[in-house]
């Protein structure tokens, strides 16, 4: 079996964004989702630093220093895009105006608890940024993350070990191995990569998994 690359993970999440949705992308891997929305589907990307209608990264050497995304990388503005100040940016987030927030995560629990702000390290200062506002205010939160930590530890857990960003907020998880829904009936496997079966995925996941009746192979293009 071949786990998805990071670009393939971003591609997979992008396919589920619907026409007309307002979407906030977290820093790191989720930022790449912007590059893989199917052509012809209009999705409006929101950046916490005061942008709606954010486009892809500029060509090298072509960016404007005053036009950056939440990860402080250069970005672009699409026709129809707007700038506004921080209060309006977060009013949109907390007020339920953002349809989908896609964030990276350290851990997600079977109840949809999200841990993505503090690693517990005492060497580096923790930082929360907009994660708690997004987790509390976006209509849906999707987590985009590697299925397991570098040491193999499961990151989908019965309960999060790391400090919470918010309880019960994650609805869907996209990993390099599977697409999973967090439901009242448990963690439901919607898609798995070729060569992996439920028992194999279960060994890499802490809470008990439920296989959806209509589960599919997780298929992505070479990117």
């Amino acid at each position: 079996m071949t786990p998805l690359s990071r670009r393939q993970m971003a591609w997979r999440a992008a396919q589920d964004l619907a026409e007309g949705q307002y979407v906030n992308l977290g820093i790191g891997l989720p930022t790449m989702v912007c590059d893989f929305v199917p052509p012809g589907r209009e999705v409006v990307f929101h950046a916490e630093n005061g942008i709606l209608g954010m486009g892809p990264a500029p060509e090298p050497g072509k960016g404007d220093k005053d036009l950056i995304n939440a990860g402080k990388g250069l970005t672009t503005l699409l026709p129809g895009g707007t700038f506004f100040h921080h209060n309006d940016a977060f009013l949109m987030i907390r007020g339920g105006h953002i349809d989908v927030s896609i964030m990276g995560a350290y851990e997600v629990s079977e109840r949809g608890d999200l841990a993505n702000w503090a690693t517990g390290s005492d060497k580096l200062a923790p930082g929360v940024g907009g994660a708690m506002d997004l987790a509390a205010g976006a209509r849906e939160v999707w987590a985009l993350m590697e299925h397991n930590a570098k040491d193999g530890a499961p990151r989908i857990r019965k309960s999060c070990v790391l400090p919470l960003t918010a309880g019960g907020c994650v609805k869907r998880v996209y990993t390099n191995l599977a697409v999973l829904d967090i439901t009242r009936d448990g963690v439901v496997v919607r898609e798995m990569i070729d060569g992996l079966d439920l028992a194999g995925l279960q060994r890499l996941t802490e809470p008990k998994l439920v296989l959806a009746n209509d589960w599919k192979k997780l298929e992505v293009p070479a990117l």
Binding site: A47, E48, N49, G50, I51, D64, K65, D66, L67, I68, K72, L77, F83, F84, H85, H86, N87, A89, F90, L91, I93, R94, A118, K123, L124, A125, P126, G127, V128, G129, G130, A131, M132, D133, A135, A136, G137, P163, L164, T165, A166, G167
Partner: protein
């Protein structure tokens, strides 16, 4: 004649005292008034509480001020931005008190201060470690945490253009925290690239009306 233009940083920062709270605009290094903030280092002022989304980048602006040891405390949402060498060193020595605030809460606390609102309840962080010691309340079935207004003795902000009344326009995403900090500062100083004739800024495009601005300095 109203004229908020000042010459030089000494005039721009006049009245800044030990122990003051200083709101510093910017997100990452975009929209940060580097030169104005660094000018504090030349003054005999200490024990500042600095409020900024990040802890500065590299060795300029807020990072330079922190490195010079002028701040006792930093209130921010995400200290480690681009090139966090200064905050990493200060954190390792535990040489700076750090208050981490969810980004929207940070912004709204300053709005509350500027708007005369005595705090507000938000769901952000209500069920997390960041709500420890704060009053919580269930509103419409959801847990909320009470957050306090965050006023500044000074707000040091950056804009693109100003007129002598202190009306401000910004460039693209360099607007970020600057308008809300302008509202929350007792003394708001705007560092701008250019001052234009009164009446030549498009009234529809002025993002910060001059009522929120006390001094304007061109850099």
């Amino acid at each position: 004649m109203i004229d908020k233009r000042v010459e030089g940083f000494a005039a721009a920062l006049a009245g800044l005292r030990d122990g003051d709270t200083v709101l510093c605009g910017g997100f990452g290094s975009i929209g940060e008034a580097f030169e104005l903030i660094e000018a504090i280092i030349g003054l005999d002022v200490r024990d500042l509480t600095v409020v900024c989304n990040n802890a500065g980048s590299g060795l300029v602006g807020v990072a330079a001020l922190l490195k010079a040891g002028r701040a006792r405390k930093l209130i921010c949402s995400y200290p480690r931005s681009t090139d966090p060498q200064v905050i990493d060193e200060l954190y390792a020595r535990r040489a700076l008190e750090l208050e981490i605030v969810p980004q929207g809460t940070l912004s709204e606390r300053m709005r509350a201060a500027g708007a005369g609102i005595g705090g507000f309840f938000t769901r952000a962080g209500a069920d997390t470690d960041l709500a420890q010691g704060k009053e919580t309340r269930t509103i419409n079935g959801a847990l909320h945490v009470l957050e306090q207004p965050l006023p500044g003795d000074f707000a040091l902000i950056r804009a693109h253009r100003a007129d002598r009344w202190g009306n401000l326009v910004y460039r693209k995403a360099a607007r970020n925290f600057n308008p809300v900090m302008a509202m929350a500062g007792k003394v708001t100083v705007a560092q701008v690239s250019e001052i234009v004739e009164l009446g030549s800024l498009d009234p529809e495009a002025i993002a910060t009306p001059g009522i929120f601005v006390d001094r304007v300095v061109v850099v």
